[in-house]
């Protein structure tokens, strides 16, 4: 039972990544694309943590930790750059 529910959850996260990539391709302005990368990084953190459970290895949680720290830095730098102007 729990296995089936986890598979449904993975499929939902799958479609969430698909929607984010569609917004990245379609997006009219640069800010739209940056919002897409922000959302996708959070979704990827969840996906890596969930995969650490599925494969049963604790080490993968560290990757999610590093990810959560560094993706934020890139988004913040891009926002500051766009605000100041070239």
């Amino acid at each position: 039972m729990a296995e089936i529910i986890l598979q449904i959850a993975v499929v939902l996260i799958f479609f969430s990544i698909v929607f984010g990539v569609v917004r990245l391709v379609v997006g009219r302005t640069t800010i739209d694309r940056v919002v897409a990368i922000d959302m996708l990084s959070v979704v990827t953190i969840s996906l890596i943590a969930l995969y650490a459970h599925i494969s049963g290895r604790f080490v993968y949680i560290d990757v999610a930790l590093v990810y959560g720290l560094l993706s934020f830095l890139a988004v913040l730098a891009i926002a500051r750059y766009l605000e100041k102007g070239p």
């Binding site: 959850a9 917004r23 926002a79």
Partner: protein, 114 residues
């Protein structure tokens, strides 16, 4: 029993992540997209991590640190993005009612020039 509860919490979190994607695709302009993406993905991420914590109580301290980082950094990046979008004059949706920030900036610019 704890397996079932944990997997249901993870499913609810995945549903919130899915609706973040749908909101990113359907909303009319940049600011509403930022709101939909940020809020739903933050709660979805916290729920997925909480479900994993119910599965494995030994992991819960590190999961708590990840949840804390996301909870601190996600509003900050959404705030910086929306401020940048407003300062480079990204067009807003057609149904927008009021824009107090642009009024304020115009008023201070007029006062400075005269």
């Amino acid at each position: 029993m704890s397996e079932l509860i944990g997997s249901i919490v993870i499913l609810v979190g995945a549903f919130f992540l899915f609706s973040a994607g749908v909101g990113l695709l359907r909303m009319p302009d940049v600011f509403t997209r930022i709101q939909a993406g940020t809020k739903a993905s933050t709660l979805g991420n916290i729920l997925v991590l909480a479900g994993l914590g119910i599965y494995h109580p030994g992991w819960s301290l590190k999961l708590l640190i990840i949840a804390y980082f996301v909870l601190m950094t996600n509003p900050l990046s959404s705030h910086a993005l929306s401020r940048a979008a407003h300062s480079i004059r990204t067009p807003m949706a057609r149904t927008t009612v009021v824009d107090a920030l642009r009024d304020e900036n115009d008023a201070s610019a007029a006062k400075g020039s005269s």
